[in-house]
């Protein structure tokens, strides 16, 4: 949930974030919402795919990311669907969700409701149509490996915090200051507060953990 345009009140934003996190946890597919004040003259589809390539939403191997982009000034929106979800959420379905769940509510200025409806609709398709994913941690991991991972994680964390305090990149305000934040390799055990801590003083961070997923330009656009 990245509301760069401050379209939603904080409690609505929080509700959406929670909903997104829960659904991601439950299904594995990662959905990100980004609200921008303006397209600034760019092409909607162009912006969408470049953002998708920068942010790498969704799992690296499964490519199961969805990005919902809203541009307030132009009253346009676009949903980008990752390669892995194209069978579950084809273009026509994405267009349908935008047309039926989002734009009617947006026209009534019920933005939060529209976004919530979109999240529900997307995940309804994801959950009913994808094969049940094998939950990662349930595989039998030997206690030795686990212990080593934890140790490694703690050490890496301490090192990373050292590095972060000296890096000056925290204040970058470009929208696409995305995946490369110097947090180290994905193997590092990520602290639970990362997910909500992307915003540095209300500026330009991203508010999710990029998984490395790829996008092919599928999805749909709409306007209200």
């Amino acid at each position: 949930m990245n509301d760069y345009a401050r379209l939603l009140p904080p409690d609505a934003r929080q509700r959406l974030e929670t909903r997104l996190a829960e659904r991601e946890q439950a299904s594995g597919a990662q959905m990100v919402i980004a609200i921008f004040p303006s397209l600034e003259g760019e092409s909607l589809e162009d912006f969408g795919i470049r953002l998708a390539e920068r942010w790498r939403v969704g799992d690296r191997k499964l490519d199961n990311g969805v990005i919902l982009l809203v541009f307030v000034e132009e009253r346009r929106l676009r949903m980008e669907v990752g390669y892995g979800l194209e069978s579950v959420l084809p273009d026509a379905a994405a267009a349908g969700i935008i047309r039926e769940a989002v734009t009617p509510r947006f026209r009534e200025q019920r933005y939060a409701a529209g976004l919530e409806a979109a999240v529900d609709a997307v995940y309804a398709r994801v959950e009913t149509r994808s094969a049940p994913a094998t939950p990662g941690p349930a595989r039998g991991v030997s206690p030795w490996v686990l212990g080593l991972l934890v140790l490694f994680g703690v050490v890496a964390l301490l090192l990373a915090r050292e590095a972060m305090s000296t890096s000056g990149r925290a204040r970058r305000s470009a929208y696409t200051a995305g995946g490369r934040r110097g947090w180290g390799s994905p193997a590092v055990v990520v602290p639970p507060w990362w997910g909500g801590g992307g915003r540095r003083g209300g500026g330009g961070g991203i508010d999710f953990r990029p998984g490395g997923g790829s996008f092919g330009g599928g999805g749909a656009s709409g306007q209200w």
Partner: protein, 197 residues
């Protein structure tokens, strides 16, 4: 005598160095060329996807506007021509082959946009659920085509640059690597007009 041995050893080392470097250049080019071929396969993929949508589209439109025979035939024929032109990886070196491919696809794009303009005159067709689905799929596919074309061009650019850079270009030419053709945007290759309802 010793001087001669040393000189020969140096020459041998230099030769080994050159061969190693040439092999490095060759392997890099092989990898870049592989990338170009993969991206091309993706381009053909998405064009095929578009071609696959068309029979359904033609049938749906016929259901409401059978009298628009000209446009429907044009689309069907353009599709047949477009699916008939494919490029093997070797042909990627040939700009004329690339032009032919693009021209065939461009004709289909043109025929499709004319079809969509015609559809504008039939409000029942425009709001028909089946048509809306196809319309969304078509737009999505056109977007995918644009994306894969861009990625292909980027791969070609990387490859061409590496082929042309000196001194690697010497080794490249020796091994038979040639620059590849880009996907140019033809002057009137418009994407089908986005029909706003």
């Amino acid at each position: 005598m010793r001087g001669l041995v040393i000189a020969l050893a140096v020459i041998a080392l230099v030769l080994v160095g050159i061969v190693a470097w040439a092999v490095g250049v060759n392997n890099r080019l092989v990898r870049l060329e592989q990338d170009v071929n993969e991206k091309w396969a993706q381009v053909e993929n998405v064009y095929q996807r578009r071609a696959d949508l068309i029979p359904n589209l033609v049938e749906t439109v016929k259901g409401f506007a059978a009298q628009e025979r000209n446009v429907l035939t044009e689309v069907t024929e353009a599709r047949a021509r477009a699916t008939g032109v494919t490029l093997t990886p070797e042909a990627l070196n040939d700009p004329r082959a690339m032009e032919r491919f693009q021209a065939a696809q461009g004709q289909l794009t043109g025929a499709l946009s004319r079809l969509l303009v015609v559809v504008e005159r039939y409000p029942e067709l425009k709001s028909h659920q089946g048509f809306l689905t196809l319309q969304a799929q078509l737009e999505g596919t056109e977007n995918r085509i644009a994306v894969e074309r861009r990625r292909f061009n980027e791969a070609v650019r990387d490859y061409n640059t590496r082929v042309a850079l000196f001194p690697g270009s010497v080794a490249a030419r020796f091994a038979g690597f040639q620059p590849k053709a880009f996907f140019e945007a033809a002057p009137d290759a418009a994407t089908p007009p986005k029909v706003k309802f």
